[in-house]
Symmetry: C2
């Protein structure tokens, strides 16, 4: 077999695996949307079977032989050519999947399934003690995983590699230290400002069918393709791109609070437009997969916050919002509404946090999971460490673990190393948007005021969506913005926006 033939065979195998995984994605979506309650056991068996088939296809030793036959040949000399990028990412996936012993894979699946169930109850009952033994097991298994995969400096580097390849603990530490140093004083100034928004205008009656209509209109306006996707209702909103032509977003409606569904839909639409515009011809191969979790998150945050919480966006949409909910907004001025959706206020819950405090929540989690993984922090001491650090960052006492260290699902499913991608997403979003603004100038906001988002979407298509995993996140950022990732654009954006809003600069 020539190198070219080996590469063709790898392509064929990768595409078949992509189709198989897309079946699991569709069943996962159904699980969270329409599946009747009694269908859970069968769904579990279906997902386990598909996962086993997928793992078997991924770790087939023949893949290793084919990769070895292609690596080092002319075909992959250019690491950013189709073959170069695909082979690089196949190798990363194959090595990771084959280095972790089967027994550890099964143990992780068993423990995290149990840990998620126990966590759900523990959170409900505010009972950290019941979750602690499971967290101890998860941390131990993730250390074993890091050891099996191999790492430099810190085991955390092996874990973050799964979500944000190429990023390191050393870089993240610098990033978070810089962010925290600037965010904490900004938030303090905002809290102390005499001018404050009236959030009450968002807590009126919003009939669900109208919320859906308005959210779908906004999603379509910014570029979601409803001929190749849907919006449905679920308990924990998500976006799932099955593959070309089929991307599903979900939300949940609160009939007494406008933000929950609306900004949730903008967020998922941001993810979805990335999925819908990945190059279809590369489906099932790395070139048809999103660059990283951080870049994916940048797309949701860009549309949710940079665009959807911006004044030009609401100059277009607020009159339409008033028509949709005439009773709720009859007495509300555009500026009051705009201020209300941009309220900054330290709060206990990450998923409800505003743009200015959000990354402090992540900084806290990053610190703690580093310490858990290194062994410097014992799970037994987690609640105390959480609460102390939280108070230092936010100036709030944590009243209970349910609203403290038990609030997130991530550690229960073994997602240690995942949290930083949220902050990376916020930073990438600001830096990308800064580059877009430099390129198009005031024309961009003029577009938004007319309800036209095609110029922005076109830029993202060219600079982000079209590349799949051809470049790592850092390189994608350099090419799109002319500079490596920096917290500066994000901090400038926050200072400018909230300084003006709250009159604190």
């Amino acid at each position: 077999m020539t190198a070219a033939e080996s590469y063709s065979e790898l392509l064929r195998r990768s595409k078949a695996l992509g189709v198989l995984n897309s079946c699991a994605a569709a069943l996962g979506w159904d699980h969270q949307t329409y599946m009747p309650a009694k269908g859970a056991a069968l769904r579990g068996e279906q997902m386990a079977l598909l996962a086993a088939l997928s793992h078997q296809k991924l770790t087939d030793p023949k893949n290793g032989e084919l990769l070895a036959a292609v690596e080092g040949t002319d075909l992959v000399t250019d690491p950013e050519s189709d073959a170069g990028a695909n082979v690089r990412e196949w190798r990363r996936g194959y090595d990771r999947a084959t280095k972790i012993p089967q027994a550890l894979v099964e143990e992780l699946a068993r423990v995290t399934t149990q840990a998620q169930q126990v966590w759900e109850q523990a959170k409900k009952k505010n009972d950290y003690a019941s979750f602690r033994p499971l967290l101890e097991q998860v941390v131990k298994l993730k250390r074993d995983e890091a050891a099996a995969v191999g790492f430099n400096d810190h085991p955390y580097n092996a874990l973050i590699e799964e979500y944000e390849p190429g990023t390191t603990v050393a870089e993240l530490k610098v990033l978070f230290a810089g962010l925290t140093a600037e965010l904490a004083p900004l938030v303090k100034k905002i809290v102390a400002a005499p001018k404050q928004p009236d959030k009450g205008v968002l807590e009126r009656d919003f009939p669900i069918d109208r919320q859906k209509m308005f959210a779908e209109a906004a999603a379509a306006a910014i570029g979601f393709d409803f001929a190749g996707g849907r919006l449905d209702t679920t308990a924990h909103p998500f976006c799932s791109g099955f593959g070309p032509g089929d991307c599903r977003i979900t939300t949940r409606y609160n009939p007494k609070f406008f933000n929950e569904a609306f900004f949730g839909v903008l967020h998922e639409t941001g993810h979805a437009m990335y999925e819908q515009n990945l190059p279809a011809k590369h489906f099932g191969t790395p070139l048809g997969v999103a660059c990283s979790f951080g870049i994916h998150e940048s797309q949701s945050r860009l549309w949710e916050n940079q665009v959807g919480r911006g004044r030009p966006f609401w100059e277009h949409f607020f009159p339409r919002l008033k028509q949709t909910f005439p009773a709720a907004f009859a007495d509300v001025a555009p500026e009051s509404f705009y201020f209300a959706v941009n309220e900054v206020k330290p709060s206990l819950i990450r998923v409800e946090a505003d743009e200015a405090t959000y990354n402090l929540h992540i900084a806290l989690r990053f610190e703690l999971e580093l310490a858990l993984l290194s062994g410097d922090l014992k799970p037994a001491d987690l609640p105390g460490a959480w609460n102390d650090r939280f108070e230092a960052l936010f100036g709030l006492r944590v009243p209970d673990d349910a609203r403290g260290c038990l609030q997130d699902i991530h550690w229960s499913f073994g997602g240690i190393g995942y949290f930083p991608t949220y902050t990376l997403g916020n930073l990438y979003a600001a830096q990308l948007m800064d580059a877009v603004r430099r390129e198009f100038g005031p024309a961009l906001d003029d577009d938004f005021r007319r309800g036209d988002f095609s110029r922005l979407k076109g830029w993202l298509n060219q600079n982000v969506y079209a590349h799949g995993q051809r470049f790592r996140a850092g390189e994608l950022c350099r090419r799109a913005t002319g500079a490596p990732l920096s917290p500066k654009p994000f901090l400038s954006y926050l200072n400018e926006k909230f300084g003006a809003l709250y009159g604190v600069c």
Copy 2:
């Protein structure tokens, strides 16, 4: 490996195959309900991949070895024991799947996919000529399939074996001759009767949300478990039982015609209750699968017609119906409504046919597909043969092929041999219901008048649902009713019901 060990391994393989096939069922349901239009190509790839994996698992030569190691041993001496029945049905499935050459399987898939697309257009444009070459290919391939599988007397026997194992052309010919001889004169008498219903009362305004509410209430009342199932909207209604705890039914709503959704839902609920009550512990093995297509159809027709078009059923539901649609039924007497939903009238379209004329539609198709398969009828001569025979049976001229030989999808997907199961279903339904009535007497109708269907459902559970494929359809019928299948209970039911309604006996 002992026989017991071989049997255990067959069980394990069968159950895994069941789970795999249930994934395809879930994706098939999504395809017909929620999938966005642009998702069709990916869905096609997903279904093809799952079908290939399934076929590979089904035809694994190891299955043949395991079967051979169990057959002839004490384990299967009793053909109606768990192992006896499972091994019998595994053998049937394995032999059928392995006897048909892979090239023929692929050719059939290719041609029938194309034929369905061409048929859809041909029906729309009333253009039989465009469909004829595809039908010629389908007929030829089905003859090849019959030859590969092997048969006695008539190649049709090899095809019907897939849907109704144990049934033969010889038996069916006797059955249809007897039915036609009695039905044709009955229908003539009804048509000539001076007393006729006013179908107009069913063609008023029926808001879709209320239709859904009323249909769901009726489905729940007769026994559909909504904790283990759902009702959704689709273009071509169906029931799909994924497996234990998850069965989906679908319907379509006509805001100007009551019957379409309501009786459709009763029909699918009949199928669904069979699926929901198959023994869950046998899921994935023949004992967890419905007996035959004819018996499955008997369950839909029993609830749709024997129960749902009966007077006691409407004595309970008509007052509720009037509350649900007060405007539409304000001036309608219960007896007028009951007569209207039982109108008998020869018509062109099978799926809209009433209880008395329905089987004449099937008799026509049975005759013609026998002749197509034997070569006595050339596809080129089909429209003429259809139209002549239709006029002889129904006394109506067929105005065009769209409402004639192009109306059904079955031949385009290669389902030659499928149609008789509809008539078998009607006959089994009547014979089962006759046995139930003999057992419970007038108490049964008293139940229905109170909206209580549990006694009937309990009997079906014990006599039909619980057995899976332990018995072939004929034996199931003998055990449940004390006699082999006969058209007599069905004909008595029709004569009694419609004789009284139309005053023609």
